[in-house]
Amino acid sequence: MTVEASLAGRTFPPTEPYVVTRERLVEFAHATGSTYDGGAAPATFPIVVAFGAMTALMEDPSVGISLHRVVHAEQRFTYTRPVVAGDELTATLTVDTLRQISGADIIGTRSEIVDADGRPVCTAFATLMHRGEDA
């Protein structure tokens, strides 16, 4: 099974608002051996919000992705400002590119993460590799 060709260029609805609490940031920082000092969130924390958008893409039956065939191939973040406690973040995912390489679909996604006022916080670019049946 391959991914629906019309997927390229498609933008998915924004995720439900994610409320960033101090507890969440403490938990995330501790999990990676850091400490949370009450200010900026760890740089990779926005993946939590982006992951919600990616999960919605992968579970959308019209897209044609089998979850167990997906590998996270590449990740990049650009930041307008750090995430802080009290932020209410949503992610809006767009499929920027779709390529087929030796039986695998290479899906280039961009999730724009904004705060409650709609102001940009961070953009998370993820490349997902969806292996075909024989790949």
Binding site: G33, S34, G39, A43, Q75, F77, T78, Y79
Partner: protein, 134 residues
């Protein structure tokens, strides 16, 4: 505070990753894929055993960047390819991940850092790099 000049080699950071860390990270990140906690599932899909989340390894690179930058909140860009898995044994010792960084350039955009993230003698991230606003 580190001085950032092109060519500066930043102090190498070594981190230990255990199974307990992966379980904590699964909870904190929401990524509960069983290949990160179950040997049974990991080996069934052809992996040598439980592997760290790629994003866990990238988080360790971010931790090194925070150390070099003198605190969190300075990272303007961060990215990598996930090329080789970090296999985490089911024991109390875990496995070591080493993060090295070299200043490539200093521009108005910030300090461009080329990273090297290794486990044993293998590079586990492909072309990891960052821009620091310091």
């Amino acid at each position: 505070m580190t001085s950032f000049e092109p060519g500066t080699e930043l102090p190498t950071q070594t981190y230990t990753v255990t199974r307990a860390d992966l379980v904590r990270y699964a909870g904190a990140s929401g990524d509960r894929n069983p290949i990160h906690w179950s040997d049974r599932v990991a080996t069934s899909v052809g992996l040598p055993g439980v592997i760290a989340h790629g994003m866990y390894t990238l988080a360790l690179a971010a931790r090194a960047l925070d150390t070099w930058a003198g605190g969190p909140g300075k990272v303007r860009e961060l990215g990598c390819k996930f090329t080789k898995p970090v296999v985490v044994p089911d024991d109390e010792h875990g496995v070591e991940v080493v993060v090295r960084g070299t200043v490539k350039n200093v521009t108005d955009e910030g300090v461009q850092v080329a990273l090297e993230v290794t486990c044993g003698d293998q590079k586990v991230l492909g072309m990891p790099k960052a821009v620091l606003g310091v």
